[in-house]
Amino acid sequence: MSLKEMLPDVLAEFPKMGRADLRDFKKGIDETFRVFTRENGEAIENFFYPLKMFMVWFEKLLLATPWPLMIVVLCLLVWLGARSITMVIMTAVALFLIGYLGMWDDTMRTLALVSVSTFVCIAIGIPVGILMAKSDRTQAVIVPILDIMQTIPAFVYLIPVLMLLGIGKVPGLIAVCIYAIPPVVRLTDLGIRLVDKDVLEAADAFGASPTQKMFKVQLPLALPNLFAGVNQTIMMALAMVVVASLIGAHGLGSQVLKAVNNQYLTLGMMNGLAIVAIAIVFDRVSQKFGKRLQKHSETIHG
């Protein structure tokens, strides 16, 4: 006789919710959300309309720019960020290869998606990070939300996004932002909290207002961490482009998805490597730029 058989029923079988109750429970929530969607879907869509227009405009701009000009512009940006001729040459070679292998347009779409979502993440993430650093209570509320955003499987939040906004660019963008925003928030908060207490006391002693303290002392000294956060956000946004393509974000990601569905090995590899190439360029440039902002810490008195 097994242990399970000796026990009373209550201890042997997990006390489950009744099957009918459980079904009603799920149905109830689904239905409520559906009603909510039906009633507010348009309002929400209107809310995101400017963002959609911006995305469309930006994507068109990238696609309409002749490729030689685009390469020059991108190389110039790399030069401004990294000040390294090696980086510029590598970028030009990578872009030329991408174009030559027929992935130019998809790369431009992905570039547009990643740029806009990074921009959105920074615009929301840095202020949220500042609020978190200013109050322990705000931090206690936001940290678990960030934990959820980073660990919940992306497919799970694709469902409500899809129900609310349907398939398209904005849902893709939102999915990318949910996944990519936590690092910039966390590292802005951390960077501000790590600012030397002695320096803050000096700012207080000279009568700095909270705003002056934030913009003249805390944020400038938090920049190295803040930049690490931006860098991570860009990397995570790039990692999300394939998942985002599931709900209609076109670009290199949708090609990878097509390759998976049809077992096209080369197509998958090529588009995947194009994503990697863009990621490397973004990463090195943003890291070098972050380091250059720290020129005061370079030379140290012996």
């Binding site: 002693a205 000279f206 009568g207 002392v217 140290i300």
Partner: protein, 341 residues
């Protein structure tokens, strides 16, 4: 000239969530250790009363943990007092509103810190003008004033350096220039020279004394070094376990230490430099041609006597009129016999 003296009255600081509940117990004689053991609160300052003279250097001296850094932070209220008053020009700083306090800090005070506390991301000149930038001065005007003070502390030509390109002594000169650029009436120096090498420390003390001769600020100077206190202080207050154990001029403290703790302290002091001829002179004129100015140190007097080959000298006041006399014996006696308690 306005009176820039600071009156500290019945100041208490008890660290902990409910400090105000324990003031009565501390007044009734509960010790620091007992308060900590029984109630988990730390006694920072106990019934401090110091009258800091206007346009003079007030030194607050004590070993680590004596509460001296806590004390100085009450003057610009970087630390909130548990009870008591800090009066400046008839106003209680402890009762100021946030806005008033901010303006008071901007316009009336400037502070120099033990660990310099410079802004690492700003150049020397941008650090120096930080205080007046906060006040809203125009860039051009701020730069002009900052350059002036950088020159005064001997840092001309270093304007575009970053703090960590400079040595400790130079960084503290920037700290001093930053405070002076504020042109505030009160200058607070929290162990400002403690982190520097002895030679550089002497150098900085000289700069401060030199500047004070023309600036006449009310300076509150914190130190753990008695020699530094005696060299700089017009008035000295000695703190121990959050209480003032003695205050007075350097000479008063060296000649009449209040208790064994302080006489231990002053034992090592070079008395020849602290004690003035006025203390040991007698009414009898020295009957010689050698004249020593009132207010000279015994060391200087002894040197003059020996150089002149005399055994006695006249002490004269500022106008040159004799007010008394000293003998070489009395001078040397006073230099070598420490006051006991």
């Amino acid at each position: 000239m306005a009176d820039n003296g600071i009156e500290v009255k019945n100041l208490y600081k008890i660290f902990g969530p409910h400090g105000d509940r324990y003031i009565q117990m501390v007044e009734d004689g509960m010790s620091k250790d007992e308060l900590n053991a029984k109630h988990g609160h730390v006694l920072g300052l106990k019934n401090i009363n110091i009258s800091m003279p206007s346009a003079k250097i007030q030194v607050i001296m004590g070993l680590s943990g004596s509460g001296k850094s806590t004390m100085i932070r009450h003057i610009n209220r970087l630390i909130e007092p548990t009870s008591g008053e800090v009066i400046y020009q008839g106003q209680d700083i402890c009762k100021m509103s946030k806005a008033d306090l901010m303006n008071f800090r901007r316009e009336k005070t400037a502070m120099v810190f033990q660990k310099f506390a410079l802004l690492p991301h700003r150049t020397v000149i941008d650090n120096t003008l930080f205080g007046i930038e906060i006040q809203g001065a125009s860039r051009g005007q701020a730069e002009e004033r900052a350059k002036h003070w950088l020159k005064r502390v001997g840092l001309e030509g270093y304007e575009t350096y970053y703090p960590n390109q400079l040595s400790g002594g130079m960084q503290q000169r920037v700290g001093l220039a930053r405070a002076l650029t504020n042109d505030a009436d009160i200058l607070m120096m929290d162990e400002a020279f403690s982190a520097l090498d002895p030679l550089i420390r002497m150098d900085m003390q000289s700069i401060l004394l030199e500047l004070q001769e023309e600036l006449h600020k009310t300076i509150v100077f914190i130190t753990h070094d008695l020699d530094e206190a005696l060299r700089l202080g017009d008035k000295i207050a000695i703190l121990r376990d959050g209480e003032v154990v003695q205050q007075g001029t350097g000479q008063e403290i060296v000649l009449n230490p209040a208790d064994a703790y302080i006489s231990d302290f002053v034992k090592e002091v070079n008395r020849g430099r602290v004690i003035k001829v006025d203390t040991v002179m007698t009414e009898n004129s020295g009957n010689t041609t050698l004249r020593i100015a009132s207010g000279s140190s015994l060391e200087d007097a002894a040197k003059r006597l020996i150089d002149a080959g005399e055994t006695a000298a006249d002490v004269v006041d500022a106008s040159g009129a004799p007010i008394g006399g000293i003998t070489i014996k009395a001078t040397i006696d006073a230099m070598v016999t420490p006051a006991t308690h």
